[in-house]
């Protein structure tokens, strides 16, 4: 190497300068832009919520009086207790419904598994407030079909089951939320090798004992995780408590928050009142993550993973009966009565030719002043929000997963943060941050779109992140070493590979956004009502035929996009666990 020194030094100096310029990669600028966007979408509304809860209205002086107002009355404290109780009961019911179903679908030779899948998907798609309306038609104390039939059969005066009750509300929530437990538990059971059960069998345990002592304990973390998710879903839910709880005079946190927003709006008290909800949710999510992180619990070995369905014999019909019963109560019955009501002149008269009419749909489609506007609003708000969320999430996921910048994890943390914020709390944060001047976004489409984008960013992020992770970095490196720049490599190699799963992510965000009620109801103005909000307005008016017809329209819109998703992104694209 004696001839080398002079030449390379000159080359290094020359190359050094031009390379240094090239090294201020645009990715740094992108990182700064993303941080700004995420602060605007996530951190600022949350921070503002916290600040407002300690401020005196008008002057902005520090005070604790908001917390005193929020928790000074026993009625308000009772609401919090009610919420927690509701969460516990709903989550317990959901676990009872879902775990046998998950076990049956994952491990046994139960017949008609496809039907069970369809039921789970149906319950997943059905918005909670629609199933609440359906159950009012089924189990209203006076004219609900079930209670009418019960009276007719027995001659008793007492209704069989009154939906306007605490347990009624909990059941309706559980019937709508059990798919979350199902997905968690089934995907955990799918990882348990049959040899686990064989090992128990050879030592003398029967099918039943093996399930009780081996399979279920193995997926215990997944069951707990599902329980927590349903609990959080139930305490953050607005639609069902508003539609069932308010007439039944059962006050929970979310409906109480809604009352703080009635004129005169007391946003600072609402902010203070929302804090426990936020803290409980954040805490429980941490617990849930810890549970699921114990991977050693579920044996995730790929090898020896032979899986045979357990032969249940005649018992398989018992298990199927359970799945069918849950499906009947969760999907078939509520949908059927909704459909019947939507085509009825008076829903209480039941199925009869002279009761049949298209007037409800006609009214909504051609005469109602808000119905078509709200459909259009829903579609374009959701589409813009889904596009923005997926786009931001994709950039963040790419930067984080490829470790392009130092502290990239901060981006990922911000993108996932809305996951621990109940929708209703986020809406109050957005209201506090952006409704009044200088932003003055109240009543605009922008504030709803921004709130939807922020709220569903975690879904988009989880989706994009797993899509990016699935593309081995060497795929891109192989293109680069052959002469393509970073952007060219992304365009030629990475983009085509993640396109399909991104599409699935976009559709999921679109679908959940299009039925979102709790975040929307605090932020809509007179001209920016979404379908979910209008549906709630109609339920307050008490006209169940028109309400049912509008629910039918909402389901049609949802089904169209679910259908597109299944076609393009695979049959179970909504039920995959990220």
């Amino acid at each position: 190497m004696s001839e080398a020194p002079a030449l390379p030094r000159a080359a290094a100096a020359r190359g050094g300068l031009s390379n240094r310029l090239a090294r201020i990669e645009p990715v740094m600028l992108l990182w700064i832009a993303l941080i700004a966007i995420l602060l605007f979408l996530v951190a600022f509304p949350l921070g503002k919520l916290l600040v407002v809860s300690f401020e005196t209205r008008g002057t902005g002086a520090f005070t604790l009086s908001n917390y005193v107002s929020a928790y000074g009355r026993s009625r308000y404290v009772d609401a919090l207790v009610n919420s927690l109780l509701l969460g516990l009961i709903s989550a317990t019911m959901a676990v009872v419904m879902a775990v046998p179903m998950a076990w049956a679908v994952s491990r046994t030779d139960m017949p008609f598994k496809g039907l069970t899948w369809a039921v789970v998907l149906g319950a997943f798609i059905l918005p909670p407030y629609l199933s609440a309306v359906g159950w009012i038609l089924l189990a209203g104390p006076n004219s609900g079909f079930l209670n009418l039939a019960w009276r007719g059969l027995t001659g008793l005066e007492e209704p069989l089951f009154n939906v306007y009750s605490f347990n009624g509300m909990a059941l309706v929530i559980a019937l709508n939320a059990f798919p979350l437990v199902f997905i968690f538990v089934k995907s955990a059971l799918d990882l348990v090798s049959s040899e686990m059960e064989d090992a128990a069998n050879i030592l003398g345990a029967g099918t039943w004992t093996a399930m009780r002592k081996v399979s279920l304990p193995l997926v215990w973390p997944a069951i707990m995780a599902g329980f927590i998710i349903v609990f959080l879903e139930a305490i953050a839910l607005f639609g069902t408590p508003a539609i069932i709880g308010i007439p039944a005079r059962i006050n929970v946190v979310t409906t109480q928050l809604w009352q703080f927003f009635e004129y005169p709006v007391r946003v600072e008290v609402a902010a203070a009142y929302a804090m426990p909800l936020l803290l409980i949710t954040a805490g429980m999510i941490v617990v849930q993550r810890l549970l699921l992180a114990r991977k050693g619990f579920v044996s995730q070995t790929g090898k020896g993973g032979e899986r045979r369905p357990i032969k249940l014999g005649p018992w398989r019909w018992v298990v199927f009966g359970w799945c069918a019963l849950v499906g009947l109560m969760a999907v078939v019955a509520p949908l059927f009565v909704l459909l019947q009501a939507s085509f009825a002149k008076a829903w209480g008269r039941g199925l009869a030719w002279d009761n049949l009419t298209f007037a409800n749909y006609y009214l909504l489609l051609f005469e109602h002043e808000m119905a078509m506007t709200s459909i259009w609003n829903t579609i374009w708000f959701s589409a813009v929000a889904a596009t923005a969320a997926v786009f931001i999430a994709l950039l963040v996921a790419y930067i984080v997963n490829r470790k392009l910048v130092p502290f990239g994890d901060a981006l990922g943390f911000l993108a996932m943060a809305p996951f621990v914020i109940p929708g209703i709390v986020m809406a109050i944060g957005f209201y506090a941050a952006y409704a009044s001047p200088p932003f003055a976004l109240y009543g605009t489409a922008a504030i709803i779109i921004l709130a939807f984008t922020a709220r569903f960013l975690p879904i988009a992020y989880a989706n994009s992140s797993s899509a990016i992770r699935a593309v081995h970095p060497e795929m891109e490196e192989a293109a680069r070493i052959l002469g393509s720049g970073r952007l060219h490599a992304i365009r030629m190699v990475t983009a085509p590979l993640v396109r399909k799963s991104l599409l699935g992510g976009w559709l999921i965000v679109f679908i959940v956004a299009s039925r979102e009620l709790s975040a929307a109801i605090f932020l809509v103005g007179p001209r920016t009502r979404t379908m979910s909000v209008l549906l709630y307005d109609l339920s307050e008016a008490g006209n169940f035929e028109v309400l049912a017809a509008f629910g039918g329209l909402l389901l049609v819109v949802t089904m169209v996009f679910v259908g597109i998703g299944m076609k393009l992104a695979g049959r179970d694209f909504m039920l995959r666990r990220n």
Partner: protein, 355 residues
């Protein structure tokens, strides 16, 4: 003129120097392996050569032009190299022909020439009949051939291979290592090959650089690494060996009561006196029932353990009058029972002093 030259190359993550000031020079058309246990820094070194990782110190130059130095790194796409990855990184959204033609397209060659060169190289790797297939339809070995074709077809200045055979099963691995050597003999591309498998490195390489803990321990032709290891690590990593503590005094190397002239033991002739280590290959030790004639250094001992490995017997012999335990191999028909006395005959020429 040397094509690829690495000087003082260092990569540190915090205080952890994963590549620690290594020097290596490859002549034009030379095939050099970086061989070492996992975590020794060989892949990081390769990725620095490719331009995916920036060095903290030192430089890499290609034909006298510096391509990597701290703060000044030519991006991978401007280096004119190509690389074969552990995961093959065959793009599943392109056919075999599109994969192979990718680099040629980027070089803006006319379509007809691309087509002709792609078919030509696919014939060379015996994949011509599968040009229109998608990678998902190919076996692991076939994907490997596509990766080879894709890397070679652009006539790279340097070909880099990162454990390319580690995902293949044993038979295929053996076949592919000859394939890689055959392609090198045909195209004479300067090649850096990273592996942890010594037989892979031996079958393919002109020279092997043995790495350990971020440093290069020794660079030599494969047979020299085996017969003339210079460090304790190389002696133990390449093949199996007996590492014996010995004394070097008055021009004589001695252990276990025997001695030989230092001039006969490679590495010991110019060494200073004192306590040293000697590597004695099990294959170089003669096992005899009776004391053989001749002047070779000999030791009496007792067989204390034996294992039949198919191609050889593997005996452990405890020397008499010292606590030396020596491993020696013998052909399948040479059978000694455990507890039987034997004689061990040493050949100083086949030993090596290591540090």
């Amino acid at each position: 003129m040397s094509r690829l030259s690495i000087q003082g190359l260092t990569k540190a993550y915090g205080p952890n120097r994963v590549v620690d000031s290594i020097d290596l020079t490859l002549a034009e058309g030379e095939f050099v392996s970086l061989l070492g246990p996992s975590g020794c820094g060989k892949t990081t070194t390769l990725r620095m050569i490719a331009g995916f990782v920036d060095p903290n110190e030192g430089s890499i130059s290609l034909n006298g032009q510096v391509i990597s130095a701290p703060g000044a790194v030519l991006p991978p796409e401007k280096r004119g190299m190509s690389m074969i990855f552990q995961s093959y990184a065959i793009w599943p959204n392109m056919t075999v022909a599109e994969n192979v033609g990718f680099g040629l397209k980027l070089r803006k060659l006319p379509g007809a020439e691309i087509k002709q060169r792609v078919m030509q190289i696919l014939e060379v790797v015996q994949m011509g009949h599968l040009a229109a297939r998608y990678p998902a339809e190919l076996s692991g070995g076939q994907q490997q051939r596509v990766a080879l074709a894709r890397a070679i077809v652009v006539k790279p200045a340097v070909l880099l291979l990162d454990e390319p055979l580690s995902n293949l099963d044993a038979n295929l691995r053996e076949e592919m290592r000859f394939e890689i050597r055959r392609l090198h003999d045909e195209f004479r591309i300067t090649t850096v090959y990273v592996t942890h498998d010594q037989s892979e490195a031996m079958a393919t390489s002109d020279r092997i650089a043995v790495m350990n803990a971020g440093r290069i321990e020794q660079v030599d032709a494969p047979h020299l690494l085996y017969t003339r290891p210079r460090t304790r690590f190389v002696a133990g990593f390449i093949g199996r060996t007996n590492l014996l503590p010995a004394k070097l005094r008055n021009g004589e190397v001695g252990f276990g009561g025997i001695s030989m002239q230092a001039g006969q033991v490679p590495g010991a002739d110019a060494a200073a006196g004192g306590d040293i280590l000697v590597s004695v290959r099990p294959q170089s030790i003669g096992l005899h029932r009776e004391r053989p004639a001749g002047s070779a250094p000999m030791l009496a001992g007792v067989v204390s353990q034996r294992t039949f490995l198919g191609e050889t017997w593997d005996y452990v012999v405890t020397a008499q009058g010292s606590d030396l335990r020596l491993r020696a191999t013998a052909p399948p028909l040479q059978i000694h029972e455990v507890g039987e006395p034997v004689w061990l005959a040493f050949d100083p020429q086949q030993m090596a002093m290591v540090v």
